[in-house]
């Protein structure tokens, strides 16, 4: 590439990046203005004295249990991510490595379920959970997220890429199916597991509708749902506080995204060729 084109390319990329980053920077800066101050204009956007206590106010300074929301989100997200990795990898192993009657048919059904939009199943799931009295519990938030046809599909493809000779060598070495799964196939599928984990994390952390449906008491709310209440009862026109709350919700996502960036890209292109 010639220097001129290189400069031009970078200029375009920098402009795009700035365009995409601007709202986040704006959010961060506004969150540091004194509580109840109006939306600052661009000239005064950088706060003279950063008001860090806005964060303390959001977390503990109101009668909303925001710290509790954060804990709920953390617990629910961790359980869903862990559960999804375990359940999907076991199912994917069965599809990729075990020979059983009807395997292809069952797998086709799994794929078909990918075509059903999420909200369609939420009411039946809601009714089922109500029937067993599990609404407004941790179970209601975690259980529906643990199974994922997408996850099974993604991991099955990854497991198929692990050479079969390795299983065979392990079987001759004395390994059971379980050992092959845990000590050969899983360790070699690290990037697919990270991809699925990252997707599951984002999906669960940012989920709004299901936690809203499945929980009713305030102390069982997740951050995403809890803070929508916050906006109504406290945020109102208090932009700095509202932006501080938004930062609290977004920060873990940003961290996960930055840490696992390359797996996202891989996840998106997975299956598009070797």
């Amino acid at each position: 590439m010639s220097p001129v084109r290189r400069v031009a390319a970078y200029a375009v990329l920098v402009a795009l990046a700035a365009f995409l980053l601007a709202p986040f920077v704006w959010m961060g800066l506004v969150s540091l203005h004194p509580s109840r101050s109006p939306i600052p204009d661009l000239a005064t956007i950088i706060p003279r004295q950063p008001a860090w206590d806005n964060y303390a106010t959001v977390l503990v300074g109101t009668d909303l249990p925001v710290a509790r929301f954060a804990l709920n989100s953390l617990v629910v997200t961790s359980l869903v991510v862990g559960g999804q990795l375990l359940v999907c990898s076991l199912a994917a192993f069965a599809f990729a490595r075990l020979d059983w009657r009807g395997r292809e048919t069952v797998f086709a059904l799994f794929l078909l379920s990918l075509m059903i939009a999420g909200p369609v199943t939420q009411i039946p799931v809601f009714l089922m959970l109500r029937a067993v009295g599990a609404l407004d519990t941790l179970l209601a938030l975690v259980a529906p997220g643990v199974g994922s046809a997408f996850g099974v599909f993604l991991l099955r493809q990854a497991f198929l890429a692990v050479p079969r000779e390795l299983d065979e060598a392990a079987r001759i070495d004395g390994a059971s199916h379980w050992t092959v799964y845990a000590r050969v196939v899983l360790p070699l599928s690290g990037s697919a597991l990270a991809t699925l984990g990252a997707f599951a994390f984002i999906a669960t952390w940012t989920d709004f509708f299901w936690p809203l449906l499945a929980t009713s008491s305030l102390e069982n709310r997740t951050l995403e749902v809890g803070l929508s209440v916050f906006k109504d009862s406290y945020g109102g026109t208090d932009w700095p506080l509202q932006m501080a709350a938004a930062v609290i919700v977004l920060a873990p996502l940003l961290l996960v995204f930055l840490a696992l960036q390359r797996y996202f890209v891989r996840g998106v292109t997975l299956g598009s060729g070797k």
């Binding site: 065979e168 001759i172 004395g174």
Partner: protein
């Protein structure tokens, strides 16, 4: 150590692909047996059935007098070296070699926690055996590396180490040298022979390379289309091939085949007539179509280094089309009246490419095959 037998073993894939057809073969205790044949001949399938990686469709697989058809691979007391080595990429060389021992001898985490003393003793024992094996193969300096940090030859040794360390009853090797370069292959060939001599373990070795088969096997079993063609010592397979397939497959350059007809106790091949030794049974097959098989080294330049008496009945005139000088010998591609032959000549021979010469055939060493069935007539 153990005897291994295939008793009427067949393997059918899908509905009608017969990979192995009614195989009867017995590998003696401590023997180095080579299964050889072109790709798709069923040799690898036969090996995988003994390993337990494929189920036999019918027949009995027997290891050490026990029928093992329904025994899982891990309980057959065998070890296998794969063509692409199948090393665990996420484990070090040490762990690759120790993996099988740990699985077999450390019986799960719970057992280890309740038998701390025993587990410790076993770990020390495993460590000693891994190090001994690595030292024997000259890879003791590589134990901390991962497979991707090793050369092809080193990987090969690790794969061997993984098999040897368990002291199994039977070694199974599936084309273990095919991924090595030519020089390393010859070197490793000799090492495998030495290793077998030192350990004395029954070994079944699969290859498509007839040179490997000839040099390594105490006996070789030649297969084609799932059917065993001949099983015998290498010299016997070479000198007395059971049929045209074996004759053409074993030996390089390959045997020359000349289609002819028996006429007055001789074989007419185009304008040439070749006499047969006095007691040869083909002499009585008057008028029948046969195939005369002549190895390249049994054709001589009549002017130089000829080892047989030159007569009317064993010579022919041919044009030397191409002459390859290999140093120890010359390979001459001959064309005579529409026939193509390959001859291996002494380098002192003065034939030159593009000239005509007279060549003699050692008919005492020639082979005659039935034109229809391909069976040897002798």
């Amino acid at each position: 150590m153990a005897k291994v037998s295939f008793r009427g073993v067949s393997k059918v894939f899908g509905k009608d692909v017969r990979a192995v057809d009614n195989l009867d073969l017995e590998i003696r205790d401590g023997e180095f047996m080579v299964l050889v044949g072109p790709s798709g001949c069923g040799k690898t399938t036969a090996l995988r059935m003994i390993a337990g990686l494929e189920e036999a469709t019918s027949g009995d697989l027997v290891i050490a007098e026990n029928r093992v058809n329904d025994v899982p691979p891990k309980d057959r007391d065998i070890a296998m070296v794969f063509q692409n080595y199948a090393l665990y990429p996420h484990m070090t060389v040490y762990d690759n070699i120790a993996f099988g021992l740990r699985l077999r001898e450390l019986k799960g985490t719970l057992w280890q926690l309740t038998h701390l003393g025993d587990a410790r003793q076993i770990r020390l024992d495993i460590d000693r055996r891994v190090r001994e094996t690595a030292a024997m193969l000259g890879i003791d300096g590589l134990l901390a590396r991962r497979p991707k940090e090793l050369s092809g030859g080193q990987r090969q040794r690790v794969a061997l180490g993984r098999a040897i360390v368990r002291k199994p009853k039977v070694f199974l090797m599936d084309e273990p040298l095919s991924n090595l370069d030519a020089k390393l292959r010859i070197q490793t060939r000799a090492e495998l022979i030495r290793l077998h001599r030192d350990l004395g373990v029954t070994t079944i070795y699969v290859t498509h390379d007839q040179v490997e088969a000839m040099t390594m096997g105490q006996r070789i079993a030649v297969m084609n289309n799932g059917v065993l063609q001949q099983c015998d010592e290498p010299e016997t397979v070479y000198n007395k091939p059971a049929n045209k397939f074996v004759a053409g497959f074993i030996g390089a350059p390959p045997m020359n085949f000349l289609n002819g007809t028996v006429n007055e106790g001789k074989i007419d091949v185009g304008p040439f007539r070749f006499g047969l030794p006095t007691a040869h049974p083909a002499r009585s097959m008057e008028g029948q179509a046969v195939v005369l098989g002549v190895r390249p080294e049994d054709i001589y330049d009549t002017k130089n280094g000829v080892q047989v008496p030159v007569t009317e009945d064993n010579t022919f005139e041919a044009q030397v089309d191409v002459l390859e000088k290999l140093g120890a010998e010359d390979t001459a591609y001959l064309v005579a009246e529409g026939l193509n032959l390959i001859a291996t000549l002494d380098p002192s021979s003065r034939v030159a490419a593009g000239t005509k010469s007279r060549f003699a055939v050692d008919l005492d060493k020639a082979h005659v095959f039935d034109a229809q069935s391909g069976h040897a007539i002798r």
